[in-house]
Symmetry: C2
Subunit: 401 residues, 2 copies
């Protein structure tokens, strides 16, 4: 039995980012860049006006000066000439500054009648002018490789003239629920049957992490039918199984796949919930065998699968983010297994997070997990703690998990 | 000119959630429930074992007792008989407890040879038995209406036997960039042209909020072509325009749509960036006219469009979440417009967030916005603040925005 941190490190170590594919910029939100992206033009391409008004020479813009308006240049319609002394050009937000001009007289600071404009407020050189390259110059780095694109990045890449983006393929994660008792929602429930929830909960988790889940048909507790999974997962980026991971005579995942090239790295972790956890490789496909209890399966998903999918996506793939909270109620001392207590989360008036563990922590109680706002992390042999003590937590409410 | 909070309230007030549609549970992650969902079965349906071992009567399970093993009942294969005194049934995690049994002897606490099992550790009544309904009973509320489904909810709904879920339709948000100078990424850039970034940045924001963006072709500064937008947006849940929202002679959004039934509620807000902001209704379609500067457009998107999409999705639709940070550098006093300073965000060793405003806050500098981790919120007439003062911020890093 190995520790949680070692288990995660061994799961992540062999994972490599997926290959790159090219997607339209409009589909690139949430994807992870496969290469750095530099600006393909200078932004703005020329000096432009930041406001509606008049372009002029700053030297001509003293209070009370009157200038000849030689033309008008709306945004997108630059003026071809060169502005001379005593001349002004009507311009608008985004208009290219004409050659010779170095200042903008704001519309509200101007009196205009027919073809002359009078300065009501002296201009300042360069004021209200956005110089060429103010945002970025051609060749400047806009987005580095291995970054998940947010909406601001999408805007920046558009401005940098990228209609296409090379991103890592969404990791394809095959998900296999096992067990004679498992049926899918809406199917006829035989005596002793149970509606399986793990596969679709894990599929949703894979989706939340940016992966592409492939939910395989439920495998019964049958060596031959389990062994056939080895054929189904060729070309997948990962195989996740649930159930059948323990050491009982009906825990067939390891025996069934042993003959199909399963190489087991480890199969128990000192954690709760989720001690029986298989890590290995089925042929070329990394494999994670999660326990069958729904709470164990999902918590192991958060602890191990989430960083694994990130790693496959081209991100660093680190442990889920941990923040500090104070305890709402005392905790007993912990034993040798790292524990993950389901807890409600509240925000105190001073902004401090308060985590209160549910009294029942049974790993089959999915409703408690769904109601939880956080997991309180209890290291092996952590001492008893009073209410108000500070503890590390994983926030579930903000993870979309 | 109205204040930011009033503007947001007036934008949100008329919005109603979209109609419901039915989606497969496997596609329901991230969607918002249109109705409460109750359990359609009791979970577990019967008393089941939490471990591998032997079912027996607790009265028979004293230390050293020997019992007759009358059969084996793997999960999914319940035993039909009734367990008598002195009898034990081989069972496994998830196996239905046979009638008559009320305790489980763990496999590791049992010596089994041929058809007899000897108790090595006295059993406790009810221990290792998951009673029927431990997780939930038929009819129990699993997920309330108006909740965005996370992966745990998906698991819970699967367990509650819901193959389908009624969710609110993704709000369809038409996005229209306007301006003679705007071209799309990759298109030929004429003199005075600029690559438009607003439409696709806002489309990504709509997607991040769970909406369905519809990016309309760029509209030039032409009354007739702008007016035609009124036909294009029929049936949309919202129209968002960018550019042309100010009062200049080339700001044509209001004049062009006035003849097509645009009813303007307000068109300036005391905020920065983003003073020119149109709110109204184009026929039946709520309309938000955002400024053309990319930073103004995206920040107004975060401040107004994000809660609007949430409201349309069936969520409460509140202001983006605000947390507290301390200032990395001093701030000058603010004028009468609520400001949103782009800032880097760092976490101090003690866990406190430190926000440091960028020295340049020009509303055309998209790269600065993309590099920002937070927006520092500065209310109208906020006083100057020293480094270390506490300020409210909107975290951008965790919003996917």
């Amino acid at each position: 039995m190995i520790g949680l941190e070692e288990a995660r490190a061994r799961i992540l170590a062999p994972l490599r980012p997926t290959a790159a594919e090219v997607v339209p910029l409009a589909d690139a939100w949430g994807r992870v860049t496969a290469a750095a992206l530099a600006a393909r033009l200078t932004q703005p391409p020329r000096d432009v006006s930041a406001m509606d008004g008049y372009a002029l020479r700053a030297a001509d813009g003293g209070l009370g000066a009157a200038l000849a308006v030689v033309g008008s240049a709306p945004a997108g319609h630059p003026w071809a000439g060169r502005l001379g002394a005593g001349e002004a050009l009507r311009i608008f937000t985004g208009s290219v500054m004409p050659d010779g001009a170095d200042a903008v007289l704001l519309q509200e600071d101007a009196d205009c009648s027919e073809a002359r404009v009078t300065v009501k407020e002296a201009v300042t050189q360069g004021r209200w002018v956005r110089p060429a390259g103010q945002d970025f110059a051609q060749g400047d780095l806009l987005v580095s490789a291995g970054k998940r694109l947010n909406s601001r990045d999408i805007g920046l890449l558009a401005a940098g003239n990228h209609p296409w983006v090379a991103v890592h393929c969404r990791p394809r994660v095959a998900i296999l629920a096992t067990g004679d008792e498992i049926v899918l929602p809406g199917e006829k429930l035989p005596p002793g049957g149970i509606v399986g929830s793990n596969a679709h909960a894990l599929a949703a988790l894979v989706r939340a992490c940016g992966g592409a889940p492939v939910v395989l048909p439920v495998a019964p507790d049958d060596l031959a039918r389990l062994a056939a999974v080895a054929d189904a997962v060729r070309g997948m980026d990962m195989l996740v199984t649930t159930g059948g991971a323990s050491a009982g005579e009906h825990d067939l995942v390891r025996p069934a796949l042993a003959g199909r090239g399963l190489q087991v790295d480890f199969w128990t972790v000192a954690m709760r919930p989720g001690k029986p956890l298989i890590h290995g490789r089925l042929g070329e496909v990394p494999m994670l065998g999660l326990p069958g209890n729904p709470v164990s399966s999902l918590i192991c998903g958060i602890v191990f699968l989430l960083p694994a999918i990130e790693r496959l996506s081209g991100l660093p793939g680190e442990a889920p983010p941990v923040v500090q909270a104070v305890l709402g109620t005392p905790l007993a001392a912990n034993d040798g297994r790292a524990d993950h207590l389901r807890a409600t989360l509240a925000v105190r008036a001073d902004g401090v997070l308060v985590a209160t563990a549910f009294p029942r922590q049974d790993s089959a109680m999915l409703r408690v997990l769904a109601q939880a706002g956080a997991l309180i992390l209890r290291p092996p042999y952590a001492p008893a703690l009073p209410a108000g003590a500070t503890v590390p937590i994983i926030r579930l409410d903000t993870l979309g998990l």
